[in-house]
Symmetry: C2
Subunit: 335 residues, 2 copies
DNA sequence: CACTTCTATGGAAGCGTTTCCATAAATAAA
DNA sequence: TTTATTTATGGAAACGCTTCCATAGAAGTG
């Protein structure tokens, strides 16, 4: 029966083994520097006591924590989760702990950047899909906190970027190649202030492709609807009830695309014959709905970010790295 | 321009303010015990230096960390995410950090229980939807790690349980009340070894309700299909191609329910007229698919777990608590 | 005004490790 | 054998903070 006392310390082990704490510590960190007999005795003591070195104490003495902070929007959206998954997996392999700092508001984000990096005693920081101000970046740099940004770019910090422009471009190109000339755009208007201008870039890329192909984009073809079934239905209905309705819709978010599809069904519009739909992100809902979409390698982005981060922790001198992750078009049934 | 030196310590502040470190510390932890003039001077010094107390050092001296560990299956499934969300939110409000330990395999789970509680120096632990062995429970208890289990029960640990039996029962009752007499059951067979026997309980409750209503459950009405669109389609098709096909299907997982719905469409079976479908969990996909389902208060479960945990951290003497969270039936379009 | 009670402060001991330095013992080289 | 190396070990400082204890001075009491 293990005692219900406080956990044993290195002193207990040392005493039990009849050596000094220094030797125990050495045994723990570089076993080959300890005599075999002593080693065995210490090992035995450790086992008997069920000793486990305390991370905090270790961290203080070592001045590194084995802990990586992850600042992320409140993770309800699957796309964040996917990224986190990638991060978690990579971190686990490197046997680092992951501390999550969910962000719910812009001011909270600010205060995080103010305090976390120092107070949290983290070895490094991953920031997911969140804008980083110059001030924050300067703080991070001046306190030497290795940092990697995902889906946002800052010149003085490492970044894993998504080529949203290219993604929008791809979507449009694909639709154009399929013969569409009347292509609409749908996205979320209420980008929370603290998030990233991703959608705008997707739109720009999309628009650019149309221009290159000499295709008009009437203002009435650009719609915004919040993440709400009914609103998206309304937007779709509006779009389709025009005199010259679009034959394709590029929804800059899978959630929207899925609901456009649903709306189309409700309106008895046949997909993809009468209406093609392309989404963005390749969430699980996209698979469920058989959505043609632009796939982001979400978990890959997380994994990559961690890799870069660890490299920079190991070698702080390393120059800032900016990586752009490629996108793929996943062809399913809606376009 | 902030210096790029190492972060200032309490000593720097003390020196700059011309006081002892004790006073600075006191000022930080109980400002009212420090004279107003001194306070101002210290405050000024802190501001100038941009001093932030280091968490590790603090933790060691305080022997608490402000950090809560969360052991959870690798969070890809939305239901886990929802729970985490609840946990994160509650933790944030209590200004505790959340350290995530994703579990990918059974052996990993074991080793976590072996090491995390001690090495991680956590104030407490939340275990999400994972079985805890007696050995692990004993460890946790003997090392005095306050712990709360979600969706699993152990006599010596705090638990937030889900009444899966009741959920299955509700689903069946609802269907029976709607006049169905031929009701099938569909679930996932490949419960990963490290997860919880949730589905079995859902089935038992379901079955019990049928028995109470004097309704037969032919063996051919009980199907298992892995989380794969095609398999679920196959299972559904099999189910419906029987001589006496069921008029309703209770899928113990929303994912399955959603895909049954999809299969029904493909098979030209009208839902809910020819086939009623009830799911379980109320994931976002359930809303998208307009699924009638049994709702778990997933984020509530997380929030509650944290509450219990914090209470037990504050007062370790408190007796073990077992809470059962209620379920609700959400009536949508599929049944 | 002498004496007690607070209050603000500093000194110093811990918290549990790591690690540098010194020393004693063991081994190798001469 | 004597001296030079190497190896195993212990002592002790350091990491940055909290907190107990002691003290000096301020405030309050009769």
């Amino acid at each position: 029966m293990s005692s219900s006392r406080t956990p044993p310390t290195i002193y207990d082990v040392a005493e039990k083994a009849g050596v000094s704490i220094a030797t125990v510590s050495r045994m723990l960190n570089s076993p080959d520097k300890v005599g075999p007999k002593t080693r065995d005795r210490i090992l035995a003591a450790i086992d008997q006591l069920g000793f486990v070195p305390k991370a905090e104490a270790r961290a203080r003495a070592l001045s590194r924590t084995g802990r990586i902070g992850v600042i992320t929007p409140f993770f309800t959206a699957p796309s964040f989760v996917q990224r986190l998954r990638g991060i978690a997996s990579a971190l686990g392999k490197a046997s680092r702990e992951m501390v999550i700092y969910p962000v719910e508001s812009y001011s909270q984000l600010g205060s995080y950047f103010g305090s976390i990096p120092l107070t949290g005693n983290l070895d490094g920081l991953v920031v997911v899909s969140l804008p980083v101000s110059d001030i924050a970046a300067r703080r991070l740099n001046s306190f030497n906190i290795p940092t990697v940004l995902i889906e946002y770019s800052h010149p003085t910090l490492n970044c894993v970027e998504i080529d949203d422009f290219e993604g929008g471009h791809m979507a449009a190109e694909y639709l154009i190649r399929k013969g569409h000339k009347r292509i609409a755009f749908l996205a979320n208007p209420d980008i929370p202030e603290y998030a990233v201008a991703t959608l705008t870039r997707r739109f720009t890329g999309f628009h650019q492709a149309l221009i290159e192909a000499g295709i008009e984009l009437p203002e009435s073809y650009v719609r915004y609807a919040s993440s709400d079934q009914e609103q998206i239905y309304q937007a779709t209905a509006d779009l389709l009830s025009q005199a010259q309705p679009p034959t394709a819709i590029f929804a800059a978010l899978d959630f929207h695309a899925a609901n456009v599809l649903k709306a189309a069904r409700r309106l008895n519009v046949c997909v993809p014959d009468q209406l093609a739909i392309v989404g963005f992100d390749d969430l699980d809902i996209a698979e469920y709905a058989d959505l043609t979409t632009i796939r982001q390698h979400l978990d890959e982005s997380g994994r990559l970010a961690v890799e870069i981060l660890l490299a920079h922790i190991a070698d702080p001198g390393r120059p800032v790295q900016h990586v752009k992750l490629p996108l793929t078009l996943v062809e399913r049934l809606t376009a």
